[in-house]
Amino acid sequence: MPQSDRSRSRRLKPFRLLALGLITLAPLVACNKETPKSTRWDQAASSAASAAAQKAEKKDTPPAPSEKPKEAASFNKFFPADGVDGTKRAFTQEKDTYAEAKITNNGKEMVVLSISDAVATPDVKDKFAKATEKLNGYPLVAVGKNQSALLVKDRYQVKASSQVLDHVARKSWLTKFDLNGLAAL
């Protein structure tokens, strides 16, 4: 061991000993047990990484002319007001073209509401082509078992997601948005 390493080791030793003395893990069994890693996401991760790298390389070239997605902050005013039916609204995310608020009732999460602009991701609109329901004239679909989604002005996805409310109750939350205001944005 080189001289400097030895002296550093000597300096650190009292602290190491103290730390060891102070804390020893009682249930040592099964600590840091190796678990099989999933391969389910590897392909997606690899594709996303390539796409991100391509995007980074092209960052100095002008973007293709298309309508610019609206920023998330412009969606806030169309959310249902705070205090509806005694609930509490807290805005929770405002990222790029996605705005989200959480509605709680007596401190428990009731429903997550969101608006996002799909102008740059047209494939997400495909599901509305098969919509059998409408709300205020806009196509409405159920996604999975816990989400109801509305497409306003063929670009804004307005969603209500909840593990405690059913589709009917979630639809009722969608009517509380200022949908006309959003359509006029």
């Binding site: 893990l25 840091n32 678990t35 796409a51 991100a52 709680t104 996805q157």
Partner: protein
């Protein structure tokens, strides 16, 4: 190439000293924290969806959003840095304490700050790091300061566990029941130069807006504006030094009775900010992915 969020989640240990300590503190935020270490598990927790195709779609969008959004990667990076920085700060506090106990090391008192001051500044800066990570992960939601405070106070799951652990381990255990006053006083009285020398602050500083004076003011304001929320947590849950120590002792053997020694040792040996921070970032992106697909 950046690591994928699913890999980062899977790398979290299922059992470790950190998970045991967090488990011991469950009584502070009952049932809020589960140790989710897979992307599928996180998707099911956030959305309640179990359909394979839908889960796959949400997962793929989550992976893409993480790689696209610089903020998410910076948040994970900062959660990691805060823990590795506080580990060193913990060692500094212990060195000082050793200095009080053993004359042979008393010279250390001249070069290390008083443990209370280290802990108080460390705690204040760590809380500011939480604010910085929140903004990197979620943007600045809403249109007013009130909206923003509301977002912080609507914390749940891993993020509430992290705040609970921070209150218990970084505040009450080492500093006692008047931790808020101690942190505020320490931040107020520390010079800008001393603050710049604080190891945790050095890691966090780049992520806070403004010059050194503004950063210092922000750390102070952050603690003060959250004072009621934190006091309420301590009072409603009955978080006391002996209570925290007793619960932690159910899971780990601690030979020392000196509370600041125990706090420093826990600080040195756990990484609960990183562990729950990774889970928080994953949860928020999954929620967004579910909203955007």
């Amino acid at each position: 190439m950046s690591e994928s969020i699913h890999t980062i989640l899977e790398e979290l240990p299922q059992t470790s000293l950190t998970t045991h300590v967090l488990g011991a503190l469950d009584w502070i935020v009952p049932g809020e924290w589960q140790n989710i270490t897979t992307l599928q598990g996180m998707i099911e927790s956030v959305t309640g969806e179990t359909d394979g195709d839908l889960v796959q779609k949400i997962g793929e969008k989550t992976i893409q959003l993480y790689l696209d959004g610089e903020g998410y990667q910076r948040a994970v990076g900062l959660y990691r840095l805060v823990d590795s920085a506080s580990t060193v700060a913990g060692a500094a506090a212990m060195a000082n304490m050793v200095g009080s106990r053993f004359e042979i090391l008393s010279f250390l008192q001249d070069v290390t700050p008083k443990p209370d001051t280290v802990q108080a500044i460390d705690a204040g800066v760590k809380f500011a790091a939480e604010l910085a990570c929140f903004c990197m992960t979620n943007g600045i939601p809403g249109d007013s300061v009130g909206d923003f405070v509301g977002a912080l106070q609507s914390y749940g799951k891993e993020e509430l566990m992290r705040i609970g652990a921070w209150v218990a381990l970084d505040c009450v255990l080492p500093l006692g029941p008047d931790f808020l006053a101690k942190i505020t006083e320490s931040i107020q009285s520390v010079s800008e130069g001393e603050l710049e020398d604080n190891r945790v602050f050095r890691f966090v500083a780049d992520h806070l807006p403004g010059g050194i004076a503004e950063k210092k003011a922000l750390i102070e304001q952050n603690i003060q504006s959250s004072g009621d929320f934190l006091t309420n947590m301590v009072e409603s849950r009955g978080i006391t030094q002996s209570g925290v120590l007793d619960r932690v002792r159910e899971y780990i053997d601690i030979a020392d009775d000196k509370l600041d020694a125990v706090a420093a040792a826990i600080d040195l040996s756990t990484n609960y900010f990183e562990h729950t921070g990774v889970q928080t970032v994953a949860r928020r992106i999954v929620s967004r992915a579910y909203g955007e697909i």
